[in-house]
């Protein structure tokens, strides 16, 4: 008797597991997208700071050189432009890193997908068994 009870509770667990797996793998491709869109604001913020910080460093170097050498506007002008360019370089690198991250995420989902597809017939097998017992 206790054995039988054990068995049934085990089956019950399997059924619940199968259900949970279905619920999880159903909207497989959508989960990471919604997560990354949440992080979109912070990514935009990251890029903005990357742009501004290089501009600030460039401006500061130019201002310092002008003050030191007494060449009032020239170094400031040159380094303002260089700083802007460096900011663009920062933004480009950050953006490319973000693209890489997204691509890795997509790859990870692709790798997971066949696994869940393999498991699905398994869980589908379990489901019809349940009402029989």
């Amino acid at each position: 008797m206790p054995d039988d009870k054990d068995q049934s509770s085990h089956d019950d667990f399997d059924a619940r597991l199968a259900k949970a797996r279905h619920a999880r793998h159903g909207p497989a491709g959508q989960e990471p997208v919604s997560e990354s869109s949440k992080a979109g604001v912070s990514q935009a913020f990251r890029i903005g700071i990357d742009l501004i910080s290089a501009l600030l460093v460039g401006t500061f170097i130019g201002w310092f050189l002008d003050d030191w050498l007494g060449t009032k506007p020239w170094f400031l002008l040159i380094f303002l432009l260089l700083g802007g360019a460096a900011g663009m370089l920062n933004v480009y690198r950050t953006a490319m890193r973000m693209v890489e991250e997204v691509e890795e995420e997509i790859h990870a989902v692709d790798k997971k997908a066949p696994k869940s597809a393999q498991k699905e017939p398994d869980t589908a097998d379990l489901d019809p068994k349940q009402p029989e017992k």
Partner: protein, 240 residues
């Protein structure tokens, strides 16, 4: 109405004077000490039992270790293992500082630019020293992009150097701005609750949601700081 910036004010708790240098313990200093103590307690007491099957606390301690170790392995590779103690300390310090700052009446020292800037400068100088130690003068080739005609190099090398110098600024401003903005926002909404009477329920709900959001930001900013440290380490060790 309460001043939303008042919370960032530095207050002296204990006056200490070391030979003319003002070394008083301020609320910022006190919270730094508290952060170090709570991180130490979290890890030491969590790992006290050293159980083979970890309990909840031990598993949290192990999880934080594995999280940072994984970051270092993914971003730097096997050579990064040497720098794990520093990176782990950095992550735990910033993460716990952000979390402690969310407690009522607490002081968030990561909302002060000088604190985050010093943290970023430690990373910046450390990484530069590591770069020179590993590669010697060859580290300077880091500023010379490959496959660029020499005429353009006159323009590219200063740009690369400015980009390199901007790292500690972007690193520190990011953490500082996120923490400051979040705390000001929370305070502003909180100051609307009582004056609005029954309608105050609306800013109250927003504030509750903001606390959850700030918990996420507290982790995310510690994470971003750590990831960028790893990336800079990677640049210094592997030169691109």
């Amino acid at each position: 109405m309460a001043n939303p910036i008042e919370q960032f004010e530095i207050k002296t708790l204990v006056d200490i004077n070391l030979g003319g240098i003002d070394a008083s313990l301020t609320n910022a200093g006190a919270f730094m000490v508290m952060t170090v103590i709570s991180v130490t307690m979290f890890l030491v007491m969590g790992m006290n039992k050293r159980a083979l099957v970890p309990g909840r606390w031990q598993s949290m301690a192990e999880l934080s270790y594995e999280f940072v170790a994984g970051l270092l392995k993914d971003n730097v590779g096997a050579e990064g293992r040497k720098y794990f103690p520093f990176v782990f300390t950095l992550f735990m310090f910033i993460f716990f500082a952000n979390l402690l700052g969310l407690m009522p009446y607490a002081f968030t020292f990561t909302s002060h630019i000088i604190v985050t800037f010093v943290l970023a400068m430690v990373v910046f100088i450390g990484v530069t020293v590591i770069g020179f130690a590993v590669h010697g003068m060859k580290f300077l080739t880091f500023f010379v992009p490959s496959g660029v005609p020499s005429v353009v190099l006159i323009l590219m090398v200063p740009i690369e150097i400015i980009s390199y110098l901007s790292r500690p600024i972007s690193l520190s401003v990011r953490l500082f701005a996120n923490m400051t903005a979040g705390h000001i926002l929370m305070k502003v909404f909180a100051s609307f609750i009582l004056p609005l009477g029954i309608l105050g329920i609306a800013p109250f709900v927003v504030d509750v949601a903001l606390v959850g959001f700030e918990l996420l930001v507290a982790f995310l900013q510690a994470y971003v700081f750590t990831v960028l440290t790893c990336l800079y380490l990677n640049d210094a060790i592997h030169l691109h």
